[in-house]
């Protein structure tokens, strides 16, 4: 790497780069089931969040205590702020999917600031893309089940109240935005946020590490500033983790509600 050439001593400054997101395989190398550090992070975070919820509801009490309170609060958050506010009472059937979606994304996002993991499980394209595809299937199937295929397409592609010639322009745009762009924007929004978060964290912490331990003494005070920035970015990453999980879940709920609604 070019930067290492400029630094004569020590390990040098670790430049954050795309390499971080494509680690070498740990297990099953060369097979279709290759297992990398990112996959390990995904599995660990899944186990962590699953354990948390299983423990919370292992012996649910009528009067909740401790973890059960947290678990109920967490599930109720999704139910209140995603489902009830957008889909109302009939959205309850999507609770299992939306709750899973929210906590899966949240857990994988938070891995980005967990010491030792330091990489969000959502910062490889597979996870956001897979979730976007599932959400795409869920909202389309919901719409088709509600209206039938023809009616669903008609509602989506030929919104009423428009002069017929306008459809020449409108229908391709609607098709593109509903069926093509939705999953792509879901994917890229989440992926880019988590990648950028990782790059910023690495930039500041690697910078602080280098400035404090290896740079000229005159530059060392700057390391403190970099470390402080790293701390700030970490806090910011917590916010982004929650926010991106919320946005992904909220948009999925919105798409489902839109697909099930009578008029588009």
């Amino acid at each position: 790497m070019p930067t290492t050439d400029l630094i004569a001593e020590g390990e040098g400054f670790h430049t954050p780069s795309l390499v971080d997101f494509f680690p070498p395989a740990i297990l099953f190398e060369g097979t279709p089931f290759e297992f990398t550090r990112v996959n390990m992070i995904q599995v660990l975070m899944t186990v962590a969040i699953a354990t948390l919820f299983i423990l919370a509801f292992r012996r649910p009490q009528v009067v909740p205590r401790g973890l059960q309170n947290i678990g109920e609060l967490a599930v109720n958050f999704v139910q209140t702020y995603v489902i009830d506010s957008i889909m109302g009472e009939k959205g309850r059937r999507y609770l299992p999917y939306l709750v899973t979606l929210f906590f899966f994304i949240l857990a994988l996002n938070l891995a980005g600031i967990v010491p030792g993991l330091n990489l969000a499980g959502t910062s490889v394209v597979a996870v956001p893309a897979m979730l976007a595809v599932i959400s795409w299937l869920v909202f389309n199937i919901a719409g088709i089940r509600k209206h039938g295929f023809g009616q669903y397409m008609k509602v989506n592609l030929f919104p009423p109240g428009v002069p017929i010639p306008v459809y020449i322009l409108l229908t391709p745009i609607e098709f593109l935005s509903t069926f093509i762009l939705r999953p792509i924007t879901l994917t890229i929004r989440l992926l880019a946020n988590m990648m950028a978060g990782h790059l910023m964290l690495v930039l500041f912490f690697a910078g602080a590490h280098y400035l404090l331990l290896e740079a000229d003494w005159i530059l060392r005070p700057l390391g403190l500033g970099a470390a402080a920035m790293g701390l700030g970015v970490t806090a910011f990453e917590i916010l982004i983790s929650v926010l991106q999980a919320y946005i992904f879940t909220l948009l999925t709920a919105l798409y489902i509600a839109g697909a099930e609604s009578e008029s588009h």
Partner: protein, 189 residues
Amino acid sequence: MTRETNPQAAEDDGVPEGIDLFLPPFYDIFWSAVCFAVLFWIFWKYVLPKMKTALDARSEGIEQKLEQAERERNEAHVLLEQYREQLAEARSDAAQIRAEAQAERQSIVTEARTEAQEAASAVAERAEVQLSAEADRVRNVLARDVGRLATDLAEKIVGETLDEQKVSATVDRFIADLESVAAEEQETR
């Protein structure tokens, strides 16, 4: 849509280029799908049903408690009414008993007073009767004694024994005279 494992398009540092950046390798999809499926299953089959059970039990418990509270409040209300009624009843009973007792006391006092008065007047009457009987007796005794004394005196003066019958007749006449004189004296006084 999946990229080959160990992509051909990758540089020597393993980073894919161009569109390959956005084409996930199969293993990434596989592992994240497994994670997601497991988590979904846990939420769907375990966490959410358990939470629902707990929440339902809680709602039911709250409803039951509210109903019970309502029931108990009604019961308490009824009891309170009963107590109030009983209290009022007891108060009126007490007042009645007090009035009765007062009346009874009055009658007892009156009765006792009458009785006492009767007894007193009976005693007085008896005393009077006794007194007058005594007076009669005394008067008789006195009359006899005075008669004998007069006779004795007369015998001594006359010096002879008078015929018994005549004597007693004379004495009686004398005494009668005496009595009438005494009565006259008494009247004039």
